[in-house]
C-alpha cells in the first residue's frame, strides 16, 4: 500500500503519470500571473475549472504546487521546480505544433519551405516558432526530403526557400551558410571506447565497424569523404533515430550529427568519443534558385537562422 497505484509494478505509459499539456500550460500561466482566476481567463476557461485542474494535478503528483490566498496564488518551492520542468514539456509541444502546422500544405501559405531531414527535425521547429512570434500571420508550409528533392522543389517553384546539409550545393541554386554541424562519434557508456583516455585515431575509426546511416545520406557522405570512402558499416540504418537506439543499446560506436544527440549526451545514455586527426564538419545552408534572392517571409525566416 505504497500509495494508490495498483499497477503492480508494470511500467505503463508515462501519460498516466504526467498531467496533460493543458494542465501544464495552466500551471505556467498561474506562475506568470500569480492568480488562478487570471490564468483561467487567459486560457479561456472558468476559474473553478482552473482551480480543480490545479488541484487534481497536485493530487496526481503528490505535492502542493501553489499557495492559495484570498489575494492571489504563488508557487511553492516544489511548484517552482515543477513549473520549470513543465515549461520544457510545453516548449517541446510548441515546437511540435509549429512543425505540424507547417506540414499540412495550405494553398494560402505565404512561405513554402523545403528542408532536408536533419534540419527539419532539429532546427526548423525552433525557427518556425521564432517566425511565428515575429510575424504571427505568416502561414508556412513544409516539405521535408533530401538535398535532391529540396533542389527539385525549389527549381520547380514548389518551394520558396530550402535548407540542405550536404557537402555541396545542388546545381542551379544559390546558398548561404547558416550554421555549422559536426558529426561526432558516440557509444553507450558501457562501450570500451567510453573508458579510453586518449582520442581514437582516425585510422582506428576507419577500421572499426560502425553503426551508420545508409549510403547516400548526408551524414554518410560527410563521413565517407572525411575517411576517404573507407567507412566500415557494422549496421546500416535508415533513420537517425534507429542509429541512436542501436548505439544506446550498446551495439557499437555510431557516427551522428551533434544536433541529434544533445539529449542523449546530457542524460549519459550516450558518450562522446573524441577522434584525432579528423574533422567531421559540414555546413548547413539555406538555398534558393539562382538569382531569386529570398524576399518577404523567406527573407524574414532566413534572417532568423543566422546571427
Amino acid at each position: 500500500m505504497s500509495s494508490d497505484e495498483t499497477d503492480g509494478g508494470r511500467e505503463g505509459s508515462i501519460a498516466h503519470r504526467v498531467p496533460d499539456l493543458g494542465a501544464l500550460e495552466l500551471l505556467l500561466a498561474v506562475a506568470r500571473l500569480g492568480s488562478l482566476g487570471g490564468a483561467a481567463r487567459e486560457l479561456g476557461i472558468t476559474q473553478p475549472a482552473a482551480s480543480s485542474r490545479i488541484r487534481s494535478m497536485e493530487r496526481q503528483l503528490g505535492v502542493a504546487l501553489v499557495d492559495r490566498s484570498p489575494r492571489g496564488s504563488r508557487l511553492t518551492d516544489a511548484g517552482a521546480l515543477v513549473t520549470d520542468w513543465a515549461r520544457r514539456v510545453v516548449e517541446a509541444a510548441a515546437a511540435f505544433d509549429a512543425g505540424a502546422q507547417a506540414l499540412r500544405h495550405r494553398r494560402d501559405s505565404r512561405l513554402r519551405v523545403a528542408a532536408s531531414m536533419t534540419i527539419a527535425e532539429y532546427l526548423l521547429p525552433g525557427w518556425l516558432l521564432a517566425l511565428r512570434s515575429q510575424r504571427p500571420d505568416t502561414a508556412v508550409s513544409l516539405l521535408a526530403g533530401n538535398s535532391t528533392t529540396v533542389a527539385e522543389q525549389l527549381l520547380s517553384d514548389e518551394a520558396d526557400l530550402g535548407f540542405v546539409e550536404g557537402l555541396s550545393v545542388p546545381p542551379g541554386l544559390d546558398s548561404t551558410v547558416i550554421a555549422h554541424d559536426h558529426l561526432i562519434v558516440v557509444t553507450a557508456p558501457t562501450h570500451p571506447w567510453a573508458r579510453r583516455r586518449r582520442p581514437v585515431p582516425a585510422t582506428e575509426l576507419a577500421s572499426t565497424p560502425l553503426i551508420l546511416r545508409e549510403k547516400g545520406s548526408g551524414t554518410r557522405q560527410v563521413l565517407d569523404a572525411a575517411l576517404g570512402g573507407l567507412a566500415r558499416p557494422l549496421i546500416e540504418l535508415s533513420s537517425t533515430t534507429a542509429v541512436k537506439a542501436s548505439a544506446v543499446s550498446g551495439a557499437g560506436p555510431a557516427v551522428l550529427s551533434e544536433l541529434a544527440v544533445g539529449e542523449e549526451l546530457s542524460t549519459r545514455r550516450l558518450v562522446r568519443i573524441p577522434v584525432e586527426g579528423l574533422t567531421l564538419a559540414r555546413d548547413l545552408r539555406a538555398v534558393w534558385p539562382t538569382g531569386h534572392r529570398p524576399t518577404g517571409p523567406a527573407r524574414e525566416l532566413l534572417s532568423l537562422t543566422r546571427g
Copy 2:
C-alpha cells in the same frame, strides 16, 4: 473560412492543437513496432482504441501519419517527421515524470538527494531517468535548495548525496567535480550588442547595467568574483526564468548559465554575446559528508553524472 477553427484568431492554448501525451506515446509505439495492434497491446489498450486515436490525431493535424495495410502499419514521410518531434515532447514528459516522482518524499526512498536549483532544474531529471533505466526499483526523493540548505540536509543526515554549483564547497563536505558550467552573456537579438562584431571587453561588461539574479545566488557569486565585485544590476530577479524572460523582452544583457539558455539560443530568442578577458566558469560538484563516501544507490547515481 480558412478551415474549421472558429477561434477568430485568438491564439488559444497549444494544448488544443497538439495531441495529448498518450497519443504521442502511442505514435512512438506504432513507429517502433510497425503495428497498431502491437502498439495497443504494449500500452494496455485495445486495438480499436489505438486505431481511433491515431485516426483522430491525423484528423487533428491534417496529415496522414501511418500507411495502414493488412499486414501492418508504417509511418508516412510526414509521420516520421511528426514522430521525431513527438519524441522530444515525450522525452521532456519523461524527465518531468522522473523529477516529479522524486519530489514527493516517500519514507521508503532508498536515495535522498539534495540539489541546488540550477542542477535540479536542468540536469537532475536526466540523471534520474538514467538511474531509473539502470535500477528501476530505486526510489529517489529530491530536496531542492541553495548550497547552504544542501549542506544542512547532508550534515543532518536528511540527504545521502548533494549537488552544488557554487565556487566553494561548504565546510564539512567532501566533493568531486562532475561537470563544468559556463556563465554566458545573452541579449535579445534586437539589442545593439547582438550586432557587434567584436567581443565585449570585460571592463565594458562591468560598467554596463545587467539583468542579474539576486545577490547571494550561485550565478551572481561567480560573476561578482570574476568582475571583482563590480557587477552592476539593471534589475535583480529571483529566478532564472524571470531573468530569461526579461532578457528576451529586450530589457538588456543578462548573465546566465549556459544550461539555462540552450533552448532560447537555438530558437534565436536570445543571442550569445562573446566577452573578452573574462572566464565565467564554475564547477558543478557532487558533495557528501566528509568521510561518508557515497555507497549503494548514491554511488550509482554519482557514476551516472560523470564521464
